[in-house]
Symmetry: C2
Amino acid sequence: MPRAGLSREKVLAAALALVDREGIAALSMRKLGAELGVEAMTLYYYVPNKDAVLDGLIDMAVSRVTVEPVGPWREWLRAFAVAIRRELLAHPALLPLVATRPVLAPGGLATVERMAAALRAEGFGALEGLQLVNAVATFVVGHTLAEAGRTPGHDDPDVAGTMESLDPEEHPVLVEALRAGLGTPEDHQERFDRALDALLHGLAPGTSL
Amino acid sequence: MPRAGLSREKVLAAALALVDREGIAALSMRKLGAELGVEAMTLYYYVPNKDAVLDGLIDMAVSRVTVEPVGPWREWLRAFAVAIRRELLAHPALLPLVATRPVLAPGGLATVERMAAALRAEGFGALEGLQLVNAVATFVVGHTLAEAGRTPGHDDPDVAGTMESLDPEEHPVLVEALRAGLGTPEDHQERFDRALDALLHGLAPGTSL
DNA sequence: GACGATAGTCTTACGGCGTAAGAGACGTCA
DNA sequence: TGACGTCTCTTACGCCGTAAGACTATCGTC
């Protein structure tokens, strides 16, 4: 058999393409192999197991989030949040993964370190700064999950159908809000912006509450 | 074969017990059947498929979150957030599920409706109130995920080990924050409280930003 | 060119999974 | 008794991750 000229990077790239195209549930070692013109077991030469593929995907996504921490901290921290959200929305299938695995890989840690260091230069303590970075990151992940998250391995639930069939007697406020635009992309964006501003507004160096 | 006296409720209760004990990954129809002294296929008489079991688990958890919306809205909304967090931490294995599936089942919708209705009585618009409820809920889920979330089907990553092996030259601020208590239960609690207060403080009726 | 080592790929197999299809056994009531 | 609805089981299919090990292509050295 001729060599396929693979590498860890090519495997991960193919995995990301597959996941973006068909969702996390479609990512199996056999399919990923087929994608690369190779049997499933061949992949194990480049990657210890499937978990390593998933971790690799996460680190790829996280590493792409880079923001230069210059200027007023609220502004670049806001840009940081927006950048995370953009990256997550670009690969929604990765969301459940990013949300449930702590950031431990090199790429993610480096980003966190840079943000925290910049915050300390602004008068935050080391712990305080990291808490702030963490609060922003978890907020973004939580919000984006609600916006675009899907459970791996399960069909998308019929949100639209459920909402339309709501009994206006039983859920009057919900029905009214839906008519007013709840759940639209603009709604998500607006809610994200408002809550993010509230969060950043409420957090300042030395604030104990 | 004698009848086992099952019901949808008993199936769900056994599923929750199994998940709490061994994690989401351990929940298979065969194991769940064994738990109830029955073959896997028998369960399909009470439940259309495995997804329905998962949805049932989520609704069980969500339905237990009830807060009386009386008094100042910031206070009971805060209590709402705390109640969600408590319930999620009581069943951490359910977290990835709750985080990635929209609340569509009856129990969850009823709770949301009640909160939103109470907020409207406080001067919020229907859409605005629901956005607020949603913002709080997604914040709590995001934060709790970071605190206790695990990816279903995968071993817990070795957070402690990774953190201890951090190079102080490369990640000085991270190392300092870890020594100051980053990641401890108290740290999570404190960060949760601070960010929640910031969020609630920043959101008020009619606030456009 | 020959040959061994190394790197890369494949085949086979095992034990798990969700669930479709349908065969039986049980309890109840006519 | 017999029929019928309720409940449970058996069997089977096509997926999954991956352990074990056989095979082959390529390269460095003589």
